[in-house]
């Protein structure tokens, strides 16, 4: 009896697979009927699986998976159709305006950095130390502006222009610190300080190690 059921469900499965290419054009009520048929078959297999043992139980489990996959395949087609339709309605980001603003703001931040380096150099710091001092000053400025609630307003306008420079890095850490300080210094600030900056640190460190190795062996 179980074999008869299995054959019957497999036959219907194959029949429905034939509908895949034309699914898009099918009427909603036919689609609903097919989806319901899959559900009913699935339910029948569940009943079969509950009674079966050994090899037969495995065959039932496989058949269940097959039906679930088929249901998803049909849904996937509907989903893609819908996404195609709504994509046309979506407003486009203002790419040109955003790019120009990012360029200008990012450029200004970097110029400020250069001014700081020159100031530190003229104050008597060696070049390398002047760069470090300028980075430190920029990180401080980024964190301070985050605290004053200014940096997120800047980011809304400038996008990548204020994310990419080191001030953006400071913002990502300071904003996490502010956000999670209410959960305490251990489980809040300590544990979640790098929620946003974590990936940059993790992969930045890894890449720098790899580049260091390449440099060491190929020098």
């Amino acid at each position: 009896m179980a074999n008869g059921l299995e054959r019957e469900i497999l036959r219907r499965y194959e029949e429905r697979q034939g509908l895949l290419p034309g699914w898009k054009e099918m009427k909603q009520e036919d689609k609903t009927r097919v989806q319901k048929e899959i559900q009913d078959d699935h339910q029948a297999v569940v009943a079969w699986e509950a009674k079966a043992a050994g090899d037969e139980k495995q065959r039932a489990a496989d058949l269940k998976r097959l039906l679930e996959q088929q249901q998803q395949d049909f849904q996937q087609i509907d989903a893609l159709e819908y996404q195609k339709k709504t994509l046309k309605l979506a407003p486009r980001p203002a790419v040109v305006k955003n790019t120009i603003l990012a360029f200008v703001v990012g450029g200004l931040i970097c110029t400020a950095g250069q001014v700081l380096i020159d100031l530190f150099s003229s104050g008597g710091l060696a070049d390398k130390d002047a760069s470090s001092a300028a980075s430190t000053a920029l990180v401080f400025a980024g964190a301070l502006l985050t605290g004053f609630g200014i940096y997120d307003e800047l980011g809304r306008v400038a996008g990548a222009g204020s994310i990419v420079p080191i001030t953006g890095f400071a913002n990502s850490i300071a904003s996490s610190a502010l956000e999670f300080k209410r959960e305490g210094f251990i489980y809040g600030v300590g544990a979640r300080l790098f929620t946003v900056a974590g990936p940059v640190i993790a992969y930045g460190t890894m890449v720098s190690i790899m580049i260091g190795l390449v440099y060491y062996f190929w020098k």
Binding site: Q75, Q76, D78, A79, L80, Y82, Q83, K85, T86, L89, A90, P91, R92, P93, A94, N98, T146, G149, Y151, D152, E153, L154, G155, R156, A158, G159, S162, I163, G168, N171, S172, A174, S175, S176, L178, E179, F180, R182, T195, V196
Partner: protein, 335 residues
Amino acid sequence: MAQNKVGKQTWQFAARPVIVSWGTAVGPMEGQGPLRDQFDMILDSNLFKGDKSWEESEQRLMQHSMELALEKAGMKAQDLDLYLAGDLLNQIITANFSARFFGAPFFGLYGACSTLVEGLAIGASVLNAGYVDNVGVSASSHYGTAERQLRYPTELGVQRLPTAQWTVTGAGSYIINMSGRGVGIVCATVGKVKDLGISNAGDMGTAMAPAAYDTITVNLQELQRKTSDYDFIVTGDLGELGLNALKELLASEGHSTNNVCDCGMLIYEPAQDTHAGGSGCGCSAAVLGYLLRQMLDKKFQRVLFVGTGALMSPTSTMQGNSIPCVAHAVVLESS
């Protein structure tokens, strides 16, 4: 067949439960929006003075909105036989702490932005069945609490997508019973979960539109109505893009859509730069008060109020899953 069931998904409330009073409390940004005169309480800041966290303030918002509703109805918290509340936060903490304060028998609800309508539907059905005398329903959201849970730290300098919606800081509470006067809840249509594969947390309107479409068409079909049988069909909250997607879906099936509007579009002005409009349980919860006022003033008589929820979890989104969505509807009628 159950005597109050119409079709498969629509419940009819023959005894006609009534929304007797409501209270709304919102944040400063909502207080500057076009509905500023409609709210009972507007905060100067997203934090109440003395609160240490946004979560505390959201809870206070919900609590105050219910206190205002009770005050207007001339009731006390002890008069509530059932309190139904929900919000967007994990374990619906805002609702739980509000329920702790009121000490009323409590069911916590989660339906994302559909929570308020879910509460109204359940409340009306329990009233209709004769188990309770007074039901309180609350829903809330808060920009700060929602962003930090679902997206980024609030002070992070990121650019939002043009399709993104702005989480409303606000709460609304409603009291329903059978003895009072007001706008009646005549039927409810309970929605099915719909998911058409949208996984972008910055475009929840598009994700929710199919759920809203399904619930609206089921409601129309089961009650044998047309969209024009309602003075307004108000969704809460699809935002601009979601509303357009819904209108497109309705129009493709031949429904007229000129009376379809959205709470997320009503609560802010375009100049407030929220991109696609408002979202969050607090959005429809705060705007419904305004709609009820209009109905009591006889500006319109019959409204289909559709709560649309994107049941988004950051965990499942990060694991590559799309956003399941649900929409529930209640038919509101002024007598």
